[in-house]
Symmetry: C2
């Protein structure tokens, strides 16, 4: 055993870049991105014929990609009818918030066991949101807000929680797209995010978790209300 450990680990990390993903996975990645951006709006039908022709992949490969995204809840697969970009109901939004609440408040409660780089990520996300608000880039404020909540969940130091959280937030974007006015929705929370981040930084994990819990009460009702007035 020589002192190879350091760069061997680095190369091991690059392995995933070496054998790129399969076509199906890359197709899924593209579609996922387009759905998140809102280019593929909720309710849009993705016919195998047109989507396959546009991406230049066979129907079989495309169907594999559809399976992946349907399992992530971003697409809905209706037998013999095709796949559609999911349309969230108000109940879905409630459900998403319910699950977020469990994961995030739970993770924050365990913030004491989290490493410093995780705490720094929380701080960083809050700062990014404030800078974006300064520049009046409201969509970016929304993105930073998501990063903040992702960072909160990451305090659990659990890859599976991270991944689940990613999927939840991706799904929530489906709700944000049917609403306009990102400013009114995201701006009020900048201040609260900062408070929560500082409580965590000060080691007051439980107090931070309680604040977050209260945040979910108001955010959920506000979003659901706004959501009902717009769509289904």
């Amino acid at each position: 055993m020589t002192t190879t450990g350091t760069w061997v680990d680095q190369l091991a990390a690059d392995r995933s870049l070496l054998d790129r993903a399969s076509t199906a996975e890359r197709v899924a990645e593209v579609l996922r991105q387009r759905i998140i951006e809102g280019v593929l709006a909720p309710g849009t039908r993705l016919s195998e014929e047109s989507a396959g022709r546009a991406l230049a992949v066979s129907r079989n490969t495309l169907r594999e990609a559809f399976r992946l995204l349907a399992h992530e809840q971003l697409l809905v697969h209706e037998l013999h009818r095709g796949v559609f970009v999911r349309v969230l109901s108000a109940d879905d939004v409630v459900d998403l918030y319910r699950m977020r609440r469990l994961l995030e408040t739970g993770a924050v409660r365990h913030a004491a066991q989290a490493g410093p780089e995780l705490l720094a990520a929380v701080e960083e996300a809050v700062g990014a949101g404030e800078r974006a608000a300064e520049a009046e880039r409201w969509w970016e404020v929304g993105t930073a807000n998501m990063r903040f909540h992702q960072a909160l969940a990451a305090l659990a130091s659990s890859p599976r929680v991270d991944e689940t959280m990613r999927q939840l937030l991706a799904e929530l974007r489906l709700a944000f797209h049917v609403m306009s006015r990102p400013r009114e929705f995201h701006e009020p929370y900048l201040e609260l995010n900062r408070v929560i981040a500082e409580l965590i930084g000060a080691g007051k994990a439980h107090e931070a978790a309680d604040r977050l819990d209260a945040y979910f009460d108001t955010a959920e009702t506000q979003l659901v209300e706004a959501y009902r007035s717009y769509g289904s």
Copy 2:
């Protein structure tokens, strides 16, 4: 609008029974069951050729099923190498418990808002475990224990939490299979399950959650230790 509302709703609920699932989904269901039962042991390679011939489905359909199960973490898909039944590392077990802890303790804390049928399900699962122990059917005790924890998560009244929990527990079975001695592992928790159930029934949700939290501390270390001594 006549008074059709009542039976129309009932028929709508039966819709899912009408169009059965696609072949890919049914294949996935079969494989999922076999993996959970342990017939397909962790590490087993599922070649497209042999699995397809055994189930009498085409390679393409089989690959769709593989995608679903890989996304559920029950299978691992290695590019150009094939799919394998997942082999959990000790880190995986830790991670699974970490996520379970968040979901279950969080759900229990919200038990006050849960309907009576959810509380009854908790009670029922505890009883089933006790009866199985009485009859010395230790594998069944394990199953009832899983049902108990599934019922705890269900207190959150969130379909997504339910589904996530289902997947977590299915994945955890992969760990249980490499160990023998289900009795020694599950028996000690029967009593604690009863205590937690009664605390919940008495409206002492937070106290129940704290007990559950303590349970995870011991259960996790015990399982991880047993797990390390057996496999990787």
